[in-house]
């Protein structure tokens, strides 16, 4: 006997949306849990930084990406066609986290930036460079967020390398972060969150500069020749 003359269909639509959100929330939580497991695995490189251990850890981590892949596929299936951005606030954070994990794992293995095809393969989700994919995808900004997170984590690794007596790697990481920073400078950032986070790269450079300084001034190692000495995987 409720009235709702005008709004009957709308009421139904609204209720349907609540259900959609509920399901997405559950799927995102699942994905988040998987990501945390991978993060915990990668975390171990801070404790022991020998090349062997790092190789091991990155291999183990790589073995877990099918899980993330899987969770993402389940999530994607829940999104109504062309409504990706209606709900994307719900998974943005976790998706950025997944990008970070892919970039971190790749760096540990190859000491270089993950490529777009690699990300797509590891996460099983296309990257939308032009932002025009109708299906579930990784936006550029998500990828960039992941890369910013990577520089923070690598900065931490630099510090721990020194503690463990690995004096060469900090030079390489420092150079990598400097290069990433130059890359970011090519971007014309309007997005405020990203811009703020970009500033954090400046801090990372400063921090790694100080580590490199500490090593240099004590002659524990010297700056490697540019281009040389880069390990291949």
């Amino acid at each position: 006997m409720t009235d709702l003359n005008f709004f009957q269909d709308i009421q139904a639509t609204l209720e349907h949306e609540t259900d959609v959100r509920e399901n997405i929330r559950t799927a995102v939580r699942e994905l988040d849990r998987t990501c945390r497991t991978v993060a915990a695995i990668l975390n171990k490189v801070h404790t022991v930084t020998t090349p062997t251990v790092i190789a091991e850890v990155s291999t183990t981590a790589r073995g877990r990406f099918p899980d993330i892949h899987n969770d993402l596929k389940k999530l994607a299936a829940l999104i109504p066609a062309e409504q990706y951005y209606r709900y994307n606030g719900m998974w943005t954070f976790v998706l950025q986290q997944a990008c970070y994990l892919a970039a971190y794992t790749t760096y540990l293995h190859y000491e270089r930036l993950v490529t777009v095809p690699e990300v797509e393969e590891m996460l099983g989700v296309p990257v939308s460079l032009r932002g025009d994919l109708p299906t579930f995808h990784i936006g550029i900004e998500d990828l960039l967020h992941g890369i910013v997170s990577l520089t923070g984590e690598l900065t931490r690794l630099t510090v721990n390398c020194v503690t463990h007596g690995d004096f060469q790697r900090p030079f390489r990481i420092h150079q990598f972060i400097v290069d990433l920073h130059s890359g970011f400078q090519l971007l014309n950032l309007k997005n405020d969150t990203l811009r703020k986070r970009f500033d954090s790269i400046k801090y990372d450079i400063k921090k790694t500069e100080e580590v490199v300084y500490d090593i240099s001034v004590r002659k524990l190692a010297t700056k490697p020749e540019a281009g040389g000495g880069q390990p291949t995987a």
Partner: protein, 239 residues
């Protein structure tokens, strides 16, 4: 003269390439957003102008103003047509926050026009059907959410309209507006969507103002028996 694409010395090729691609896409995205925001603002301004115009309506120039308003509305629809290309597929929701204010204000204006024309509420389908190009093809979808938000704002204009006609002595019409406002509010109370929460307080206030205005009319008109007015027909507002 910007040189930000000049490669920094020594940047490795992989990073350089990746970021140059990123840069292009980001710029595309931002430019699109800028264009959308600009048109959204234009839509908002034009819709507000349309509302102001409709408030100026009087019995004598009703037709002229309605014609003007319909023309104004066509101009706004043209703006939507102009922005539609930017909002295809995923881009619709991607930039919804940028175009949202425009939608909201447009729904407010278009439904106010419908109200002025026939005293009733515009349905979502109806407003959707007005959002077509010259060939009758739908330009853009009108979401339930935008419809609800725009209609919520309409109640503020209905309140203004009602107080205004009470001042002019159009009492029966005031009662009609009140009834319409009540129906909207009652339905909105049931819908109870979180997106509406902020607007509900204002809506309740508008209804209260209108109910009080109608009350004042009744109180005044009841003072003398109807017979009284038969000899004072210059003030017989009620009939």
């Amino acid at each position: 003269g910007h040189h930000r694409h000049a490669p920094a010395r020594d940047m490795p090729a992989d990073i350089l390439n990746a970021f140059q691609t990123f840069s292009t896409s980001l710029d595309e995205m931002h430019d699109r957003r800028e264009r959308i925001i600009k048109i959204s603002r234009d839509i908002t301004i034009a819709s507000k102008r349309m509302i102001f115009l409709l408030h100026r309506i009087t019995n004598t120039d009703r037709d002229r103003i309605l014609t003007e308003a319909r023309a104004e509305q066509r101009k706004i629809v043209k703006l939507f047509e102009q922005v539609a290309v930017e909002l295809q597929g995923n881009n619709f929701y991607k930039h919804h926050r940028s175009i949202g204010p425009g939608y909201e204000e447009y729904v407010e204006a278009a439904s106010f026009l419908v109200f002025i024309e026939r005293g009733d509420l515009a349905t979502r389908d109806e407003l959707q059907r007005e959002l077509v190009d010259d060939n009758g093809n739908q330009i853009l979808p009108l979401t339930e959410e935008d419809y609800l938000l725009g209609l919520a704002d309409l109640t503020g204009e209905l309140m203004r309209y009602c107080i205004n006609i009470v001042g002019k002595g159009e009492h029966e019409r005031a009662a009609e507006v009140r009834d319409l406002l009540r129906r909207i509010r009652d339905d909105y109370e049931i819908i109870n969507s979180p997106i509406l929460r902020k607007k509900m307080g204002v809506m309740r206030g508008s209804l209260q103002k209108v109910e009080l205005a109608c009350y004042a009319i009744k109180v005044r008109g009841s003072e003398y028996p109807p017979e009284y007015f038969q000899t004072h027909d210059d003030w017989s507002h009620e009939g």
